[in-house]
Subunit: 331 residues, 2 copies
């Protein structure tokens, strides 16, 4: 099932202890789309400025990504972010953010973007996420990302956006902030209990029976990610790497691998959103994210091969499995 | 194979968002011994004061723990720690530390404590760890814990202690601090490369061929733990709990489950320190630690049953396994 993603297309300036880039292709929609493109047809919706280069568009097209809804704003400047990471890459400082064409952005979706069965609402203003969500009322699977800023200044709208999707993908700290619950499992279960309020238009629902989110993914940075559904829990460590160069876009790349894998398999006849499928999707998201951080920006993922992804998923399975050595207890 | 543990026996005053205890049994050696006692005979070496109660000793004895090397210092006061945890339990503040009988502690090991094949050096001054290590030259498996304080003020001695053991169990932040390497895998591999310096007495070695540590366990708090050997990597999330009451002693309880499981199985004829055995030990350490945090101090672990441990290990296997849904890539 094809995927539509709405979110930022950006130029990033990034400095890490291992080097820097002054102006590289970035943005949540870009990282997501590149990762998801290994699994399914992806359509990108988002604005760029007059300064946005043809080579960057070509890079997306080369991965089979549909960029016809990438809107070039006359006289506009592409979203720009500058950040610097600390020595252990777990802390980062935003030095500059220039919204550019993102200020006043109104997503315009073509018929083909509206026809996708899977939708990813990357981290943008929750009102915009809801507008886009409403344009794909029949989508079978909708996932959403967000950030601390929107929890701070637009929580009500974000909660309403969350109530309208199937899957929420957030950093674990954001889940805690969103719910006010310090315990990850409690926080996830709180969000799983949210259902569309009477006032908001219910509309047709996606995969599964009950409405409201049924899958929560807590991204945990270098520690991996956890999956919470109404019945079950799953956790996967990050793939161990001795060399991590640039974490920028890792979360969106994870989301692209996760949602992309689900989209490819939900398209197979009556395949349901089973725990088995979700877990395999977690592994593919984790594998994609691990490649992303090995080089700056999109540099590694654009030349990735499917064999490399498959091998890393297999390695993930190997480093997480343990067998049942016989238990010797003496009490 | 029986286990000797040397470390603190303490009274803790702990306040968490979920309650408080003014004076409860604690200390690294206590938490370790209780956990390890489910797997093997444990002997505790450490000092207590005149204020130390008979009921606390009885609690250890009831678990089959040998307390004949618990040394009661006339006129002394038992080690005391007071701490308070923040709302998400990931931060804690030490409000008071009274070394008491730990000041000037000189470990005296009986013949039976010296006869153990497995030794755990809980977090104490590295010079003392080395002294005790030297008293069990023929131990088959020796593991060590430490803390940031000793890395700050006694790093050389700590490095020498580490070079004399088989297994190092540290928080991931401590591993980074110890090696100056921000990357967990690089930090662990650095420690794995340490071998006894020419100046220090090599002595007989334990399991395995080469000397120097061959197993590194990085404790990651709520995220679980990772295992790094010379050839392989393994990671396991913490067991997901909706209610965590008091994390005090979780690391030592983990170590007790981990080392205890190894000790029980290394005793089985020619069983080697295989990756499979280490991984199963990680699962048992993780299970034990998860029980420990469900209530204050030792309250949960003292009434734990082997069936509960086995069930939780099985649950851990369930929440970490994923199957190989067929890969659908399109590049």
């Amino acid at each position: 099932m094809s995927i539509t993603v709405v979110g930022s297309i950006a130029y990033d300036a990034v400095k890490t202890p291992f080097g820097e880039r002054e102006r590289m292709l970035g943005g949540a929609a870009v990282h997501f789309a590149l990762a998801a493109s290994f699994f399914e047809q992806v359509r990108v919706v988002g604005p760029v400025g007059e300064d946005f280069g043809e080579p960057e568009l070509a890079l997306l097209r080369d991965r089979g990504i549909d960029v016809s809804d990438v809107e070039r704003i006359p006289g506009g400047k592409t979203f720009f972010w500058r950040g610097e990471y600390g020595w252990d890459l777990n802390s980062r400082e935003t030095l500059d953010t220039q919204l550019g064409v993102f200020e006043g952005f109104q997503p315009k979706l073509s018929d083909s973007s509206r026809s996708s069965d899977v939708l990813f609402l990357a981290n943008i203003q929750p009102d915009l996420q809801r507008e886009v969500r409403a344009q794909l009322p029949n989508a079978r699977f909708v996932a959403l990302d967000s950030m601390n800023l929107w929890i701070d200044i637009a929580r009500d709208s974000l909660v309403e956006a969350i109530e309208s999707v199937d899957c929420v993908i957030l950093n674990d700290a954001e889940l805690r902030q969103l719910t006010g619950k310090p315990n990850l499992l409690s926080a996830a279960r709180e969000v799983l209990s949210w259902t569309p309020s009477a006032s908001s238009s219910g509309g047709a629902r996606g995969v599964g029976e009950a409405s409201g989110p049924k899958v929560i993914v807590a991204k945990q940075g270098e520690y991996g990610a956890a999956l919470v559904t109404r019945e079950r829990f799953f956790a996967l460590p990050a793939f161990p790497l001795e060399s991590v160069i640039d974490p920028t876009g890792a979360g969106d790349t994870f989301a692209g691998g996760f949602v992309g894998f689900l989209a490819a398999h939900l398209g197979e006849g009556d395949q349901e959103l089973s725990d088995e499928l979700l877990r395999a999707a977690m592994a593919h998201g984790t594998a994609l994210a691990s490649f992303n951080v090995e080089e700056f920006g999109t540099e590694r993922v654009v030349r990735l091969t499917d064999a490399e992804i498959a091998a890393r998923v297999q390695e993930l399975r190997e480093i997480t499995s343990f067998s049942g050595a016989p238990l010797q207890l003496r009490d």
